[in-house]
Amino acid sequence: MSQLAPLMPYHRVNILTGTRTARLVEDPVEYAKQIQKAQRPLLVLGPRLLKITLGERLLIEYALDIAKAKNIPTCATATVKSKMVELGVPPDSVYDIVEIVNALKDPNWRGVRKEGNHDLVLFFGFRTDLGEQGLSVLKHFAPHLKTMTLCKYYYPHADFSLPNMRKDEQWKSFLEGLIENLKKE
């Protein structure tokens, strides 16, 4: 909400817009910090990771680097699992997006590692509309966790989001910066 606060009408009962909006983060250091703060993060991987190339690498490779850097458990949706198996990194769990969101909603869910529900969920590689709707579910019905997106678009329903990035280079360097920072600590 922070950045929007001054841009909200005072009398909220008359508000024009949504009221809770993602914190926009451009700095990989800040993102890394948020991830590091989490006790039980989860990385949810969408099918677009297999379709998009950034630099020479498939997006899924960045995703796996992120997971590896901090030993973040993964959830493969749609057709992502087989590619992960191929890359030698089988996912910790397989659910489709609506299923994982449905499970995350439940505060008593044990999480993909059976260690308790997650407290931070990173989404990466979904259609923006479906992603937004999934994030909306969690924003409204999962106060027990925070959400974060890694795609190059702004996702208002998330808790933390990148801004809209015109240039792929910007995105690439963000992701690389993030991986580096995650490895550091």
């Binding site: 969408g46 299923e99 509309d129 579910v137």
Partner: protein, 768 residues
């Protein structure tokens, strides 16, 4: 007691209204059910398939106490919370959809009673004796004449009003009760659709009791541009049929082309197979902007709301023929025909004409008058390339595309003479025109796409109406045993991520000997693909409702024949009485009929309501990614939920541990995922070992094909005993089962939910 009195009262009402009543079956517990009458059934469903809400807005803006912020456990000034508000919105959507079909039904019924009299007998041919499974099941009424159908539609009107009441500020406070009301609306929708299609078949003499309906031309290139062209847009054939009558009576049918977009087109080909189908809703704006149509006639639903503006731009004449959509046009219903024609031709005025005959005459005369003066041709490739060069790759178009597509890139490639990308986009495109509207350089994107689009013409099989009783007798056993692995019904509108998905799904499942049923815009879309031999799926597969057949039931309202077929299986094959016996029918379908609906492109409120009606009847529905914007799904959680059923023979409640069907309303992001969900959602607890093995065979094989190998993670949940394991995969599956410590379990003799929740239906009524 109260129940008995109520049933007697309703029967009396029916008696009085139709003045006769054949006691063809004993009456069940819920004739003409009202809001609360099937609530316990709904609550039972909702206990397993819990509503999953994806709010589309943080706010409620329904009354002047608001807008209310509903985030973070806040309630509105009326006390409502965010989930309940979503449920209320879904109910409203279902009611918009249900009322659209019901009004169509009511209108066409009036038109046809006017034409044939109320005593016109309902006769759907020798192979369709069970003429109205939805009406019989829901109302407890066996309609014999057009006039009898009025009772059904008046019942629907009444329930719509009562349901709509409950969306008023300060009413229902429970999301579950709103869901029960949405399920009610969905059920009513199937009644309304059934009324409409029966009336049309009877009143317009559509083909019935025949599978092999004509193959009709499909695609905009099938329309002869050299003739005057009348194009119908919408859903209601009241006027299009009159136009054809007029052409025939005046020996003009050779001289004028009749075509259409959306369901009126489908209806019209059932009336005359010389009419052409341009395509689904997604082709509407392309076709209008091309200016090929001389006269556009709109009726209702799924019509662009900016039609007068678009028609004027394209130089086409426009006639609005129904009161639902009048566009602010002058109502010329009482004006002299000659004068209307004159004003339309000379002053290029558009009119509303609510008298079918007059509209028909005007349309033909105007089309013939203006066609010769109009220049009709697509943009050339060269023109397109020139126009495309203006693109600055600003990305504005992408930002507003409902399909999120990077149109700029496509336009840019066209500028370089490459049409590949734009052709791809065309297949993804829903034809909304937002990209072009937003383009700061005013590039006519749609026209450019049209140049890139394939120029092929296709075939679609004319809609055939109800599934025949004879067919049901043949497939009843294999479906309920599972040896026909499933009925896959592809329905709904053109908001799919890719038009090819649909034909591929049909091809895949028809080849695998599922029964495939299509309707509405989907029926058109699946025809727009040809295999290596140049055959459309309608030419490739037989039109029978049988293993490996592809059946086009007809327009949107023909969706009632799909729910009707499921009911027929319970009634004709299993001999369970259907009369006013909704719970028994739905329970049968849920537990024993392996059917799944796919509304891959649902956008319209009608789609929401049709799907919800299928859900109440126990048919799961798979939706495309956009449909998450409909705010609500019905999901189970296989690991956490109970999967108890009553074994009707043993009269025991048993925990099956088997999530079948797993979800009732589910969104898939990709076609690949849908390919795997379809066979899974066809699994039923009633499957024999042989049937189950066949179903799992497809599940595994499709999983391997589309998910890149391996075995489905949840496979063990569906293997009851060794005999369930498909032979081909025996070794691999057994290894997996051993690895995870799977244990065999007893299959249920006769699975039912009756007896597991408060209902007046005795368990024995599900035993046939």
């Amino acid at each position: 007691m109260a129940e008995l009195k109520e049933i007697t009262r309703k029967l009396k009402e029916i008696h009085e209204k139709i003045k006769s009543e054949i006691p063809w079956e004993p009456i069940g517990h819920t004739p003409m059910p009202e809001i609360a009458d099937l609530r316990n059934w709904d609550m039972k469903l909702l206990q397993t398939y819990k509503p999953f809400y994806a709010p589309f807005c943080d706010l409620c803006c329904f009354c002047t106490y608001g807008k209310c912020d509903l985030t973070e456990d806040r309630r509105g000034a009326c006390g409502i919370d965010i989930g309940t508000q979503q449920a209320r919105f879904v109910l409203l959507a279902c009611l918009m959809g249900c009322s659209a079909h019901a009004s169509h039904a009511g209108h066409i019924l009036e038109v046809l009673i006017e034409k044939h009299g109320p005593d016109k007998k309902i006769n759907l041919g020798t192979s369709v004796e069970l003429e109205a499974p939805n009406i019989r099941t829901v109302l407890g009424l066996k309609p014999e004449t057009l006039g009898d159908l009025k009772i059904a539609i008046e019942y629907v009107y009444k329930e719509i009003a009562h349901l709509l009441d409950s969306t008023h500020m300060g009413q229902e406070g429970s999301c579950l009760d709103y869901e029960s009301k949405s399920l009610h609306a969905g059920m009513l929708d199937h009644v309304g659709m059934e009324v409409a299609d029966i009336a049309q078949i009877v009143g317009f003499n559509y083909p019935t009791s025949v599978a092999n309906t004509p193959l009709v031309d499909l695609g905009w290139n099938s329309v002869d541009k050299t003739k005057p062209i009348i194009c119908f847009i919408g859903h209601n054939p009241a006027t299009s049929t009159v136009v054809i009558d007029y052409l025939q009576e005046n020996n003009l049918y050779d001289k004028v082309e009749v075509c259409g977009v959306c369901c009126t087109a489908l209806e019209t080909t059932r009336y005359s197979d010389r009419a052409k189908v341009i395509g689904p809703f997604s082709r509407q704006l392309f076709y209008i902007r091309s200016g090929i149509a001389d006269v556009i006639m709109t009726d209702e639903q799924c019509i662009r709301t900016d039609m007068p503006q678009e028609a004027t731009k394209a130089g086409s004449a426009l006639i609005a023929t129904l009161d639902k959509v009048m566009y602010g046009l002058e109502d010329a219903t009482e004006m002299d025909t000659g004068e209307i024609v004159k004003k339309m031709v000379e002053e290029k005025k558009h009119f509303a004409i609510l008298d079918g005959k007059k509209a028909a005459e005007v349309a033909v005369k105007v089309a013939m008058a203006i066609a010769p003066q109009r220049r009709k041709q697509w943009l050339t490739e060269q023109e397109a390339t020139e126009l495309a060069k203006k693109c600055g790759l600003c990305g504005m178009c992408e930002q507003v595309c409902p399909n999120l597509f990077d149109i700029g890139r496509g336009v840019n490639e066209v500028a370089k003479g490459n049409y590949e990308v734009i052709r791809e986009i065309f297949n993804l495109c829903v034809g909304c025109g937002k990209c072009e509207e937003e383009c700061p350089r005013n590039i006519p994107i749609l026209k450019i796409m049209q140049v890139g689009a394939s120029k092929e013409t296709y075939k679609i099989r004319a809609g055939r109406g109800p599934i025949m009783d004879t067919e049901i007798r043949t497939v009843g056993a294999p479906i309920t045993l599972g040896t026909i692995p499933g009925v896959v019904a592809l329905v709904g509108c053109s908001n799919f991520p890719d038009i090819r998905d649909l034909a591929e799904i049909v091809d895949e499942f028809a080849r695998r000997k599922y029964i495939v049923v299509v309707s509405g815009c989907t029926a058109m879309a699946v025809g727009m693909w040809k295999d290596a031999d140049g055959k459309t799926i309608y030419e490739k597969y037989p039109p029978e409702f049988d293993a490996g057949g592809v059946v086009n039931v007809g327009s949107c309202v023909a969706n009632s024949h799909i729910s009707g077929a499921a009911i027929k299986i319970a009634n004709i094959f299993a001999a369970l009485p259907l009369r006013a016996n909704y719970e028994v029918m739905a329970d049968y379908v849920l537990n024993r009929v392996g059917a799944v609906g796919i509304a891959w492109g649902a956008y319209s409120q009608k789609a929401a309501s049709i799907a919800t009606g299928f859900n109440r009847l126990g048919v799961p529905v798979i939706l495309g990614p956009h449909s998450s914007k409909y705010r609500r799904l019905y999901l189970s959680r296989k690991d956490e939920d109970e999967w108890k059923v009553m074994d009707a023979r043993k009269k025991q409640i048993v925990e099956t541990g088997e999530p079948s069907p797993e979800h009732l309303a589910y969104v898939c992001e990709t076609k690949e995922k849908a390919m795997v969900m379809i066979p899974k959602l066809c699994i039923r607890k009633n499957d024999t070992p042989q049937g189950r093995a066949i179903k799992l065979n497809h599940y595994i094989s499709l999983y391997k094909k589309y998910m890149g190998g391996g075995l489905p993670e949840d496979l063990p949940l569906y293997v009851r005993r060794d005999a369930d394991i498909p032979l081909v995969y025996k070794k691999e599956v057994k290894a997996y089962l051993t690895q995870i410590g799977w244990k065999p379990k007893e299959p249920v003799g006769l699975p039912t939910l009756i007896g597991t929740y408060p209902t007046k239906v005795p368990v024995d009524s599900v035993i046939h």
